[in-house]
Point group: C2
Chain length 499, copies 2
């Protein structure tokens, strides 16, 4: 199933070189590498600026690998640095990198007069810029964008190291970085008409992304963005895979899960569980993997080594897409998932959000809580949970709140109401816990909240609109991406003057 692209290159190089020689009177520059066959002088060529890569101690800043969406199974993208780390990362750096379709952060979303503010903002978060936050590994910030490019940017300077667009599709993941490889996940939110018909006849038989575009995993060389191989999937792979023990675990929009060799892209196992994974990124935890599917609404636990289903669970009343949107968080033997639920007959169209904790090994339900209700929301249906020190921190977009629950008991510790109005509902992104504080991106702001009390300590305006892009904190710097197509770095003390 994986296709090694290397073998295309000689043919391609010959074909395009001779053609471009004829057309432009020049041959492609040696530095303009060819990924999948395309015009190697064109706009989608891989651009590489090795001179912008970090060196020396700067190339050691941050974690040495990035194996999950939101950094790890607990979804806490926070990385303290040691005292002898470079001064710039301890003090914090400030830069903004405009991605290919960078939209002014102070502007309302495209077409808001035509589509309305809530829908226009949601469309922009789904189709325009970054859907998830960045990855920071060894002094480099990696990001995927709906603009069809992936980027590697120097974490200190904000300068471009490479950009690549191996496929004409939205890249909605959080790049995984292991060894010398960056893994991208490609898939569009859209359905084609055949799937619309299929859904109308039998919802559970439909699949997202099937024959809509070019789905799958794209493995790039970490240093220059060159495509190493790709692994096509039938449905979209909007969600981020997980890496563990030399394997990559993928869930797609056609109800499939795959275990593949992370070095070669070769398939080890495939399990069709049905339903569709939307943005429920895979969590690899204690020799099992966890992901959620919509339509046939289940949270699945599969064995890492053979793909066998260990257990499945669900969330009662989960809305059509809700349970397939949210990435399960895992820590201390517990897996947590939530989803927006549809109203009961007697509730007058009030939608809810329900969170449930499962025993990671057995799937036994440990506790279930109603998180509060509100009006129907568009798009992503739930809040991405984060676990830190036996407490779950999680948002609820139907009520525009964040809450804290005890991991083992489900005891509600506090509810914080997001103070700024967000047309599509606030509260989707996972909070980041760092040095005793919670950092939360929602609407146009990054908030600082006291994790013990749920009291807001500070708010810092960014603009654009955050969907499920969480802040990544390394030392004294916050790294962010935006649906308005930007990668940003700012000192922690800018976000929180009391830090």
């Amino acid at each position: 199933m994986p296709r090694i692209v290397q073998k295309h290159i000689p043919y391609n190089t010959i074909l395009l070189s001779s053609m471009l020689l004829a057309i432009f009177g020049c041959v492609p520059l040696a530095s303009a590498s060819v990924a999948v066959p395309m015009d190697s002088t064109g706009p989608y060529r891989t651009v590489s600026h090795p001179e912008n890569a970090p060196s020396g101690v700067d190339a050691t800043v941050g974690p040495s690998e990035w194996t999950h969406a939101y950094a790890n199974p607990a979804h806490n993208a926070a990385f303290p640095v040691s005292n002898n780390a470079p001064k710039w990362i301890k003090d914090g750096v400030s830069w903004s990198f405009p991605e290919a379709r960078a939209w002014p952060l102070t502007s309302p979303p495209f077409g808001h007069k035509t589509y309305g503010m809530a829908e226009a903002a949601v469309t922009q978060t789904q189709f325009y810029g970054n859907a998830l936050g960045p990855s920071v590994v060894k002094g480099v910030v990696y990001a995927e964008s709906d603009d069809m490019f992936a980027y590697a940017v120097n974490a200190k300077t904000g300068k471009l190291i490479w950009r690549a667009s191996p496929v004409g599709n939205n890249l909605m993941g959080n790049p995984l970085v292991v060894g010398n490889t960056v893994y991208l996940s490609a898939g569009s939110v859209g359905f084609n008409f055949a799937n619309v018909i299929r859904y109308a006849h039998s919802p559970s038989a439909s699949a997202r992304g099937l024959n809509v575009s070019f789905n799958g995993i794209y493995a790039l060389n970490r240093e220059n963005g060159k495509l190493l191989w790709y692994f096509p999937t039938p449905g979209e792979t909007m969600a981020t895979p997980a890496y563990d023990n030399h394997l990559l675990f993928i869930a797609d929009g056609a109800g499939n899960a795959f275990g593949i060799n992370a070095t070669t892209g070769k398939q080890l196992w495939k399990t069709h569980v049905g339903g569709m994974d939307n943005m429920s990124s895979v969590t690899a935890y204690d020799h099992n993997i966890y992901f959620a599917m919509a339509i046939k609404p289940y949270l699945y636990c599969l064995n890492e080594s053979n793909g066998h289903v260990v257990w499945k669970g669900t969330i009662p009343g989960a809305s059509n897409t809700g349970i397939g949107d949210v990435s399960p968080a895992a820590a201390d033997g517990v897996v947590v998932l939530d989803a927006t639920t549809t109203p009961q007959a007697n509730k007058k169209a009030r939608f809810g959000n329900v969170i449930r904790a499962f025993d990671a090994k057995t799937g036994a339900v440990l506790w279930t809580r109603s998180m509060g209700s509100g009006a129907k929301i568009p798009a992503f249906k739930g809040g991405v949970p984060m676990i830190h020190d036996n407490i779950v921190y999680v948002g609820n977009p139907v009520a525009s709140t964040y809450q804290a629950y005890e991991l083992k008991t489900g005891k509600l510790l506090w509810t914080w109401h997001v103070p700024t109005k967000v047309a599509a509902g606030a509260g989707r992104a996972a909070p980041t816990y760092y040095h005793g504080l919670l950092y939360i991106t929602t609407g146009q702001y990054i908030f600082v909240v006291n994790p013990a009390t749920g009291k807001e300590l500070h708010q810092h305006h960014i603009g654009g609109q955050f969907g499920i892009e969480s802040p990544v904190i390394v030392g004294g710097t916050v790294y962010l991406t935006s649906s308005w197509d930007w990668i940003m770095a700012m000192p922690l003390k800018t976000v929180n003057p009391n830090s």
Copy 2:
């Protein structure tokens, strides 16, 4: 409703210039124009090479404007040249221009092992390269591509004059060129989940492209590709608008038709008729416009000046999307449309294709013919009709045939069976009639067929796969686009050694 982009530019220039100065140590080149706000040094910037534009007599080759998909209401994209035209256009030129994601014409489509050949080829025609053929005006070839770029290429040399990507969306139209303006239509084939649900509950309430991405008409400066204004539409605008008498007429995926001022983009009228326009491009003919909608399956005739519905007609048994895929052809007071039909209960899943002729003024049905049956086909459901000298030439993808009918009587003159097998069905594109011969692009070939007898005279292999991209013939040159993302020119005598 239209937004003049000019007003963004000062802000944007300041914002990005200062930012880029900080990041790259340089400011954008004056020649790198800014369209909608984005990184003006990035891959989607508008690139302009005025030195490649034609001059002198070369800038007079071909028609002086392009007002319709397939050139005109009759859909015959053929342009003889006078004896004193330049030798190169009379003898024919040969070049291939690789668009941004140019895929080797000799390669099978992306992911054919994962999706199967029929679906992979159809996906590539819908999402990868050019969906319609090029426009040739005054020595320049214009093309829109699913790769999100529009191109202007010198018709003689094949050199790039400009490329532009004003929006992150598929461009599936045939660029209109009038005066100093090029009009692009933006819209994706996809549906979002809210529309999938809507379709399941009430098919006629659903809309294609709604909140999937950034739909509408983009007006560019013909000389340099700079964005002049855009007109957003709620549903996709995959179909090409029509120009007549200083107005532009648009039909979208949300059941709307618009008449707008072609110079300013200001809306004159809007009529919601319901259903969804897929690839049914608008035809402006004798003070009325014609387009077809799917789901609520009607061919509409609207008054150009006020948008009032003059009449509507249908095709009995049209499949879900069939009647919204095909562009009506008009000539000699007759409008012709066809669509794939779904099987009758007793026909054992044999699909048909039905063609019907209407009186253009009154909508009276002049004749209806069953074109032949076959297996179900994916994607575009019908053949684009072309009218020449009182004869309709039209393909039928369920039977992989082309036929000729008398325009006034519906008398079948001949049926030609496409000899080469096409996994998704041959016979979608409109034939082009030139100097007593028919030129037909289908599958991997361009065929030459005798229009009097329906006998094949020659076949010429191109590769890739043609969907509904028709050949454009100017003097001795055939201009083609490909779903594999190429623009090509070749001498007519290459395609037909007997010409």
